[in-house]
């Protein structure tokens, strides 16, 4: 069976750094699957997902999306097929909530679908009233900003959602609520997700499979149950011990 997304022997080196940031990365993702990528700061998590939408280009190796090398896909087209959510949401401060969500359609002069906007506000549990839609990012709470960021990423109905510690800056309660809501949303939409986190609980709760990354190398890629029962090495065992208190 063809994988939905496949990283084949990916290596990545930043020009300013000696040594590889990512080293011989090989893994594949099935359609509708959510992979959580777990690791400490500097382990290469963010770099790994930035390669998928060509924000970074690999030093060697190739990434295949539905069997097609992404190097052969037009960058704009590729990015339109993917949603990207980051820690501080990356909302554009001069735009309203509505403008942030439909920014791609608006700037591409495509039809802005009011129904889609309402659907996304409902999916992300945001108020649908006009007053809310005309607010600016600074007028929103951290949780609302993340929800708007998620709604924007979902606007074009992406095949793949890339999430870089999206709930990392939120308080514990809001974070838990958003995790639950996102899990329900992902199960409803069946979107394929690469989700970066440094939080073990989050990785185990959300991921169909969890990838443990250390110094740019995959330590283990397994279901949460497998990971807990059979840690591949001492590092994964230590990570589990520390993470679970």
């Amino acid at each position: 069976m063809q994988s939905f997304l496949e990283y084949k022997d990916i290596q990545f080196t930043y020009q300013t750094q000696a040594g590889h940031t990512l080293n011989h990365i090989n893994f594949s993702v099935q359609e509708g699957e959510m992979i959580t990528i777990l690791g400490t700061s500097g382990s290469g998590k963010t770099t790994l997902i930035k390669l998928a939408n060509k924000l970074l280009l690999p030093t060697s190796g190739a990434i295949y999306l539905k069997g097609q090398n992404i190097a052969d896909i037009d960058t704009k087209q590729l990015r339109r097929r993917m949603g990207y959510v980051i820690q501080q949401a990356g909302l554009f401060p001069h735009m309203t909530v509505k403008e942030n969500i439909n920014v791609v359609a608006r700037l591409s002069k495509e039809d802005i679908q009011e129904a889609r906007l309402q659907e996304l506000l409902s999916l992300t549990k945001l108020p649908a009233d006009k007053d809310f839609q005309t607010r600016r990012p600074w007028q929103l709470s951290g949780g609302q900003q993340q929800r708007v960021g998620l709604a924007r990423a979902l606007y074009c109905d992406p095949e793949l959602l890339l999430m870089d510690e999206p709930f990392g800056a939120l308080d514990a309660i809001t974070r838990y609520e958003l995790q639950q809501e996102f899990l329900a949303l992902q199960q409803e939409t069946k979107t394929t997700v690469l989700f970066v986190t440094h939080d073990l609980r989050e990785a185990l709760m959300l991921g169909d499979r969890v990838m443990v990354l250390r110094d740019g190398a995959i330590q283990q890629l397994a279901t949460p149950e497998e990971l807990i029962q059979n840690p591949a090495n001492d590092y994964v065992r230590l990570l589990l011990q520390i993470g679970r208190g």
Binding site: I86, F92, L107, Q139
Partner: protein, 213 residues
Amino acid sequence: MIQYISIHYMSILQAIVEHLRLTAFSLLFSIPLAALLSLLLFHSKTLGAILTGFLVVIYCIPSIALFTMLIPWFGLGETTAVIGLTAYNQILLIRNIKASYEAIPQQIKEAAESLGISNRKCLQNIYLPLMLPYLIGGLRIVTISTMGIATMAALINAGGLGRILVEGMRMFSMPRILVAVILISGLALILNFILIKLERLARRYATGHEVAS
């Protein structure tokens, strides 16, 4: 001084208009040229380093020397002055454009890039509104600097308030010198005030704070 103003008010008004015209034309040419050069520099670091070095050298040439160097090609008068002032402005504007772009938070740049829209649309609709307060801030400095340097343009027959100043120095006429200095400083202060207001408006727009909380 009052007597001088009452007799020569038409000549003073003409000098003010000439000075503002010199400044306006210089900015009119400087801004698009700096924008164009910035785009080129954005794509080539080597070219950027060479051109920036060249523009720094130009900036270090005393204005009267630069104007004199341009006379063989462009003659005496306003054209030479505008070309010289435009050349001076480039390093300030290019540095300012670069700093404005760097002031955009990295997360905004990544979010914008990941949308899959063209670079032009990204620049026009996302980056420029966020860069605007910094760009106006830079423009304010360049405007004041141009107002000052334009005074020297009188020495190459380009007119402006420098003409009154030069006359005053030649004739040891304090009223002329005072009128010129007060008017140059006054105009610079007025433009500075207007641009500060514009900068604040742009900042409120860029941060979404034009909406009442």
